[in-house]
């Protein structure tokens, strides 16, 4: 049995929907335990994130998938507070050789989400982790404008917030499918990586 953790921030709730899709994909893999962890505002005091139970889970995980909305062109401040709080783990390279992945959500089709995914990759690289790409061709190349990887993202999963004003958070079915496939992919690769 191996472990995978999906740790994310959500604002309006749509990133949370994508996180659930990624989690469902990871949890569908045999011999893999998947945990969905939300970064909560109450754990950020004076701009610093602190939650020992969360870090205990992440330290034990074989793979960690990071998720955040793209706000003003990058990860949200709440996510960054979490990232900054990993400095001690980084200094001891405590997450070295774990698998890593990421997803992000914003309002427009492109919308600088690539910059957020690139940041998540930099964070993972500072930790000495191995980054898992999306691993599937966009539906565009099969002549579709919806479906799997419809936005054309290769580093990780991009979602577009299509929630109508004043309605409950919703995500595109193609983006949800992309999230599920990605969660499954990271989980399967984690099982293939021998520890010694």
């Amino acid at each position: 049995m191996k472990n995978i953790a999906i740790i994310y921030v959500t604002g309006t709730g749509s990133t949370g929907k994508l996180a659930e899709a990624v989690h469902a994909g990871a949890a569908s893999v045999a011999d893999m335990q998947a945990e969905l962890i939300a970064i909560e505002g109450k754990d950020i005091v004076d701009g610093r994130y602190s939650n020992d139970a969360v870090f205990e889970k992440l330290n034990k995980a074989d793979a960690i998938i990071f998720g955040t909305p793209t706000i003003m062109g990058g990860p949200s401040a709440q996510f960054k507070a979490f990232a900054d709080a990993t400095g001690g783990i980084w200094f001891g390279q405590g997450w070295k050789d774990k698998l890593a992945g990421g997803f992000s959500m914003s309002g427009s089709p492109s919308g600088d989400k690539l910059n957020t995914l690139q940041y998540l990759h930099i964070l993972a690289s500072q930790h000495g982790m191995l980054w898992v790409s999306t691993g599937g061709m966009p539906s565009f190349y099969a002549g579709k404008t919806d479906g799997y990887n419809r936005l054309g993202s290769y580093l990780g999963v991009m979602g577009q917030n299509t929630t109508p004003q004043g309605q409950p958070a919703a995500i595109d079915s193609g983006d949800a499918l992309t999230g599920q496939e990605y969660g499954k992919r990271v989980a399967e690769l984690a099982l293939k990586l021998r520890e010694s």
Copy 2:
């Protein structure tokens, strides 16, 4: 009278269509002369671009807008051959304080085009230039999925190649509009920047 040059590479022709839109916008501005320059394969020998007449025009321009398709996640090799050939100008900082901008085209809505625009910005910054952002809100925020800046790009113009297989190159009308507005914007800002 000031000068603006749009220098670009096109493969299938769709980036050329976007270049024409940017050029049309720039040429519509009074007191501004706009020139459209294609990087041609015949000028690249052994991976090195050379064309004195082109560089003479660029050296005299008040603003330069760079355009390239996004191929395998970055500017095309042909565009990069042109960029590498600017090394001598860079060493003498011959383009310092000129305005710069960029545009890119690929098949999917996102598709790593941001990475190409970020590269064009790095190229411009190595030359000591000033980078002009898109400067207009995506149509998404007005509740539309087409129209101005429909893909949600802020560094420069993104276009999506929607040419049907075997048909003449075509671009989306919203992307063409975004290109025109951007060409106009860079031209107007070039007129506002006093030389001394």
Copy 3:
């Protein structure tokens, strides 16, 4: 008379030293008023930055230079909280056509500082601003390992924290010089940009 604002976060104090150098350069330019504004932790509550007086100053500035340490490969969470709080201004494009610039500090010579500068450029681009590059050749090309732009940065100013353990914050003299020259450059270009 025009205005330039340098808004920054500092942790150990070394980014503050670089901010002071940038401010000194900007303030040395005739007809330019330069203000140095620190983002303070007390203004960040529940991960959200709020300070009306600061935004009033920024809204009136002709140029804004952003500064932050690079922490875990990107801008600090405190800086990101400030950036996220500019969402309302962004939605109304209130900073459109202002000049923008940036600087960052970290422990090692390279250390992913480029990613932070690229983020600052994305933030500025979302706001419709014009980005000012460093604009000077690294001292390396004059055969030196210290002096102006010794680290080789083109998007904005990079500094390396050389503070000895337990000592007051200090920065390299070449980095300080680079900061001064950059502040002066942004201020001079702001004076050259006519408003209409």
Copy 4:
């Protein structure tokens, strides 16, 4: 027995020295065959790279490490010609799940090399590969200015060209050490990744 390929471009020869260090590290690992492949100018005609024997080797490799100088802020045009030529492999996702890594060389300590490494990661991600980070703390944090990872790079290996004018290509001993350790690391991780 598994295979690792290091494919690179060198201009003045210093990137070639770093490639040799990466190769030596990979070749030192038991049960791993490491091949060093230079991209040659003769194989680039009209901006297009073609060499069937090279692609045959890459297709069989369990891991591929990409190397290029950073020229005008990105991979050299020659490297990009190679990257563009992988479009057919990409379309069939022929390199999916292989390990990937990268290194780059330029004149100054930082010098936009991060942008080149980020591009190599994007290229690898388009191919569905897994990216291996540097995985070791910079010597800076042990109070040194030379030695392992002295420049502070986490995505892949950065080297600084320290060749004196008119002398044979040379690289810094710390950069060479970083290259060796990285080659070894990618090779060891490739052995740990089960194929099914």
